[in-house]
């Protein structure tokens, strides 16, 4: 054994030794080697192309061309050709039989060639007794296997015994004489035939019988089953179902809520809503300050060694250390966080568990799924309370409270604690109450409207259609119609719904415009009432496609502005005002710059600056515009000269110019000469009650006779507006100079004539402005800039140095360069190849011509 092994080893060894030898035999003629000499040898560089074998390479290329290009060249311009695809035809090594075998095997292979190994059923038909399994599975034939006797063509065993083996002396003696062999066989055949016939008959009989039985059974079947069920009933009634069973079954079949749709508790809903609002509010504040969202938050602390390279030490969260009552150390900040996290974690786990359960069981309870879906719908309704209707008033109250809470938070954020919080709270309380009462009344109206209208509405395709639906209805009815229209055509319900709803938005704006312009409106159907009732729906529509909303409103604004240019000295009508009011509802007016709100600002300022005040209507319109600006800037607290100018002008109209001094205080407000005394009271006011009157719609619509009630209303509104603007701007360094003209005008007013509430308001404005005068003024100083650090000359470390420097360029550019380089190389290569191909063909042709 050992020897054998050794031999084997030896052989292998020798192989190893020999192999290189055989290669060495191929040693090339040094004259055929082309060496690419390297100027500098560099360590670690892989030298791939240092040697070339031009002769061999050329030969290789030529053979390759002969295989490819030459073939192609031969069949060039020939459309047909004969291909012999017979197997083994060209292979001379094969004999004729081999070929046949090969073809046969291929044929068989083809037969058995499955398309995929996992496809068991298709191509191969399994059979049993010559019948396909499919056929058998039909069980048409009632005959069972047992009945079928094996019909072998074999001989009977006795006969076999006799005929084949029974010969010889043992048996023959006993027989009555020997019959000839031929007789015997005949007898045998006859017997077997008889037997066969008998069998056949018997079988036929049984078949007949079974068939008969079957038919009879079928006739009998209904009777039997009926009796069976009745029997069952009796039994069921007898023993009451086990309560345990029922409960179990109930539990088993009960609809399961999916884990994702876990009913959220009030608290959670509130918290979620709060978080959402907080996020939105944060974004709003950012926009208000005019910052881009992607701006990196300013780092709080910069060390002196900061190199401005963007590197930042991840500072650990500051931990407040304190001791609790037991004297244990506790970390305040992290504690709560951790708890939260834990909670979250747990919730997640729970969710996961639930989801796995449900996935297992969801298949089993297909019927329940529908119910589940219903549940989902309900939940979603609950979730976005905002989108649900007035039905859930509690939710609404909840929301109001939320938003209020939220306001407080905002105030903190902006660091405006100095604001007069008392005033504000008072205001908020009042508005809240008002809103509540308003909502109740509204609900009632809506209920009534709801009962009177049909339930489904089509979304109109043209404005005329919408007009036809809406024109005769009261605002509340219109609101209900819209509500239903939008419910029936929710964007989730179909493909084109979204487009149609966006169109609807445009139509609604047009509807507003028309109601504002038309004069024959019945009572309580003015454009503001319409706006009031359809506003929620406009809001919903606007949320579907913000882009479209913005463009629609911007277009309208543009149109209005164009109209205004035509007669730029007169105040606009209700149709402009109503849209300006709409803007404050749909768009965040506090944004630093907003594609719709900013043009609106420009427009309003322009109107306040350019329009000439001639009538009471003009005064009212101007005051409305000022109120709008106030509303727009309530959160952002911006300043507009136009507003103060206009209010000052209104107050100035209340100063009687007859009293000799005739101060020519000219503000940049156009007041027609006639209107200069428009608001001077004719006699001391007799209004004693503290009921302040609000401006109303009629003031905007028609020129009223100059009665004292309007004058008081206008003056009071102006003063109150001024008060509010004073509050807004009081922190500004130049505030005193902004309101100084107001002060002088207010002091000229004949205060005695006015009712007490107006007097008080005037006093408070005066005191406010005087307080502004007391403010200390900080000299303006530019922010100190950090001196720029000197550039440090440190070695520049490259992570991977691959032997050459790269120009600094962007990633994309780098990619581009790379591609370009590659492309150039490939191009060069391709050209070279083509050139060689050409020369090859040329040589070939030359050869052919020479041969000819």
């Amino acid at each position: 054994m050992g020897k054998v092994k050794n031999k084997a080893k030896k052989k292998r060894m020798s192989d190893r030794v020999v192999k290189p030898d055989s290669q060495k035999k191929k040693v090339l003629n040094p004259f055929e080697i082309h060496v690419n000499r390297q100027k500098y040898s560099i360590l670690g560089r892989k030298t791939k192309n240092d040697k070339g074998l031009p002769g061999i390479a050329r030969a290789k290329a030529i053979t390759k061309r002969k295989k490819t290009l030459l073939q192609e060249f031969r069949i060039k311009d020939k459309s047909n050709r004969f291909l012999d695809r017979r197997i083994g035809e060209k292979n001379s090594a094969m004999t004729a039989e081999d070929r046949i075998m090969a073809r046969f095997t291929v044929e068989r292979m083809k037969m058995h060639n499955k398309k995929s190994i996992f496809n068991l059923a298709d191509d191969e038909i399994l059979t049993h007794h010559g019948q396909t399994l499919n056929e058998i599975e039909k069980f048409d034939d009632p005959r069972s296997d047992d009945e079928e006797e094996e019909e072998t063509g074999k001989l009977d065993s006795t006969f076999v015994e006799d005929a084949h083996f029974g010969g010889g002396m043992l048996k023959r003696s006993s027989s009555e004489g020997h019959t000839s062999r031929k007789d015997l066989i005949d007898q045998l055949i006859a017997e077997s035939k008889i037997r066969k016939a008998e069998k056949q008959r018997a079988r036929e009989q049984t078949i007949e019988l079974t068939e008969k039985l079957d038919t009879e059974w079928k006739d009998l079947l209904p009777v039997v089953s009926a009796s069976k069920t009745s029997l069952n009933n009796v039994v069921d009634n007898d023993d009451k179902p086990d309560s345990y069973d029922t409960v179990m079954r109930q539990l088993k079949f009960e609809a399961r809520g999916k884990p994702l749709d876990r009913l959220k508790s009030e608290d959670e809903l509130a918290r979620e809503e709060k978080e959402r609002l907080e996020k939105l509010e944060r974004e709003r504040l950012q926009r208000m300050r005019g910052l881009k969202e992607d701006l990196v938050p300013e780092r709080k602390h910069r060390s002196a060694d900061d190199l401005d390279d963007g590197f930042e030490v991840e500072s650990e969260e500051e931990v407040m250390m304190s001791y609790n009552a037991d004297g244990e150390l506790e970390m305040n900040t992290n504690h709560e966080l951790e708890q939260d996290e834990k909670q979250d974690h747990e919730q997640d786990e729970e969710r996961e568990r639930n989801s796995s359960h449900s996935s297992e069981e969801s298949e089993q309870f297909d019927d329940n799924d529908e119910e589940d879906e219903d549940n989902i719908d309900d939940l979603s309704d609950l979730k976005n309370v905002y989108h649900s209707d007035d039905e859930n008033t509690e939710n609404k109250g909840h929301l109001i409270i939320l938003s209020e809470f939220f306001l407080g938070m905002v105030a903190e954020n902006v660091n405006l604690e100095t604001m007069q919080s008392t005033d504000r709270n008072y205001c908020e309380d009042r508005t809240e109450n008002k809103i509540k009462i308003d909502l109740l009344a509204r609900k009632e109206m809506m209920e009534r409207a709801r009962s009177e209208l049909p339930y489904t509405f089509k979304v109109p395709d043209t404005y005329e259609e919408l007009q036809a639906v809406l024109c005769v209805q009261s605002p509340h009815h219109q609101a209900v119609i819209l509500e239903r229209m939008m419910k029936c055509n929710h964007p989730s319900l179909g493909e084109g719904m979204k487009d149609r709803l966006t169109n609807l938005f445009g139509f609604l704006l047009q509807h507003l415009q028309d109601t504002a312009v038309s004069t024959e409106n019945e009572e309580g159907c003015n454009c503001f009432a319409v706006l009031d009732s359809i506003l929620p729906h406009l809001y919903d529509l606007s949320q579907i496609t913000p882009q479209n909303t913005g463009h629609c409103v911007a277009d309208i604004l543009k149109e209005k502005q164009q109209d205004f240019r035509a007669h730029c000295n007169s105040f606009p009508g209700l149709d402009t005002l109503v849209f300006l009011k709409l803007i404050s509802h749909l768009f965040p007016t506090s944004d630093f710059r907003h594609p719709v709100v900013t043009p609106a600002f420009v427009f309003i300022c322009q109107m306040l600056h350019q329009c000439r005040v001639k009538t009471t209507q003009d005064i009212a319109t101007g005051l409305f515009l000022v109120t709008l600006i106030l509303e727009y800037t309530v959160l952002s607290k911006r300043f507009s000269p136009a507003v103060v100018n206009f209010l000052c002008g209104v107050l100035d109209m209340g100063v009687s110019k007859t009293c000799a001094k005739l101060v020519s205080v000219v503000y940049p407000v156009h007041i027609a000469g006639k209107a200069r005394n428009l608001l001077v009271l004719s006699e001391p006011s007799t209004v004693s009650n503290n009921e302040t009157q609000l401006m109303n719609l009629d003031d905007l619509q028609e020129t009223l006779p100059e009665d004292d009630s309007f004058k008081l209303r206008a003056l009071h509104t102006a003063v109150k507006l001024l008060l509010e603007f004073c509050c807004h701007l009081e922190n500004m360094s130049a505030s005193y100079h902004i309101f100084k003209p107001v002060l002088t005008t207010l002091k000229q007013l004949e205060v005695v004539k006015y009712p007490s509430f107006l007097q008080e308001d005037i006093k408070s404005v005066i005191s406010k402005v005087e307080k502004m005068e007391q403010q200390k003024l900080q000299f303006l100083v530019m922010e100190k800039k950090k001196p720029k650090a000197l550039r440090l000359y440190e070695p520049r470390v490259e992570e991977v140095f691959d032997g050459r420097k790269r120009r600094p360029m962007g990633r994309e550019r780098q990619e581009h360069e790379k591609l370009l380089h590659k492309y150039k190389r490939e191009m060069k290569g391709a050209i070279r190849e083509i050139r060689r191909d050409k020369s090859f063909l040329a040589k070939l042709k030359l050869k052919q011509t020479l041969q000819k």
């Binding site: 009031d532 506003l535 594609p595 109120t627």
Partner: protein, 499 residues
Amino acid sequence: MLSKELRTQASEFLKSRKNANNLISIISLLENEGNVQPCILALEMIFTEVLKRREICRDFTAAANEHEVNAETKYRVWLLECYEDTFMRLLSIMSKHKSSMQLQALTTMMKLLSLEGKYPVDYRENQEYYFPVQKLRPIVLELLSSECSRENLIARFQEFTAYEDVLYYVWKLLPTIVLNKKQPNETFIKNFLSLLDKIPVPKQGVGNKDNWEFVLCGKEGGPDFVQNTDHLHKWLNRVWSAVIRWEHSPATHQQLLVVLLERILPHLDKPLLLTDYLMDSLDMGGAVSLLALQGIFILIKNHNLEYPNIYGKLYSMFEPEIFHTKYKARLFYLSDMFLSSTHLSEHLVAAFAKRLARLTLVAPPQDIHIILMFIGNLVLRHPGLKRLFNHPTGGEVSLDPYIMEERDPLKSQAIESSLWELHALQNHILPSIATAAKFINMPLPSVEWDMSKILENSADDIFEKEMKKKVKEITLTFDRPQSLTLSRGERVTQYWTLT
């Protein structure tokens, strides 16, 4: 109908002297209101032809032996009378009738004038250039009516003043007309000033030989028209000295200044004499003072005027009213020029900057833009003004040291103050202004802002610009409104009951 008839009558008249009475009938038809225009046209046709035939010409040789009163002479004299009569009637038409008639009359008269110049009525021996001045005078007088405005006629007449000789003789006539009037009424002044505004002052040294195309009454081969530039100057100065002594209403004063600046000033002999007049105008306020300011600027620039307290006057022009004047852009432009010198004292410039800043508190947006740039430019020219927004010591004061009411910019203590107004503007409701006002927080640019582009901006332009701003995303509110009342920041329903 009538016009055709009249034309046939006229042509018949021209065919033979037998139909001479047609002329009388046509002239008499002029009285009628309805058919003035065709009559004028017919008369024009007749007299054009007659003048060309020289039938109207007064024959001196014939006049010499006067006793021989033959038919020919009689006819000629009658024709001349008719001609003069027609001319008078046309003049009266020009004073009374509708404007289209007036224009027709004027053109006809000028046409006749031209023909008369070419074919003088009085036979002339010498080869001097002839212009019927005695005919031009009533026309000019009629243009300068004291009763009503003659804007359209003057505009038409302006076309004729493209002819050098007409222009020359009009200027020749003007001193005589003006010197007769001691104190004309306002309409006359208006007409006169608009005439001055319309007619150009003749160019110097135009007297080339082949100018018969540019003169009304010249013909090819005829005598050349030569104008005396010295005389022109004399007349112009004389006219101006008379005009300026009239008493002017604010409207005419303004017009006068416009004419002065645009037409007359370069041609006056001693423009510096206007200084006091302009200074007085400067105090009048409004557009007049702005025009005066421009005049003063020209005087300073071209004629080395020095006048005490020019800057004080400029300073006092910056009042809140300016934002309503049409000439606001001009004021900013001019004051930018005035303050472009880097040799002004910093106290002065600081006063301007501070006053402008105060004005931004009441200015409309487009003007705030201009003012902000203006202030920025002032600071660039006078780096010392940086202390207005970068106080060297910091600290605080109880009151703004700047005194707005002080008339003298040097005493206004503006340099002690800070531009708090611009700080306030950073909270302006328009984002463009708010960002523009932030320049006080940033390092100043090395090149001045170009104010000229935005000087003429209007609120409409700002609106358009804001509209054009492309924004990727339009944000919406996140409070769903239930009604007109907003959940927060609601103000309108606090003051208005709308529904």
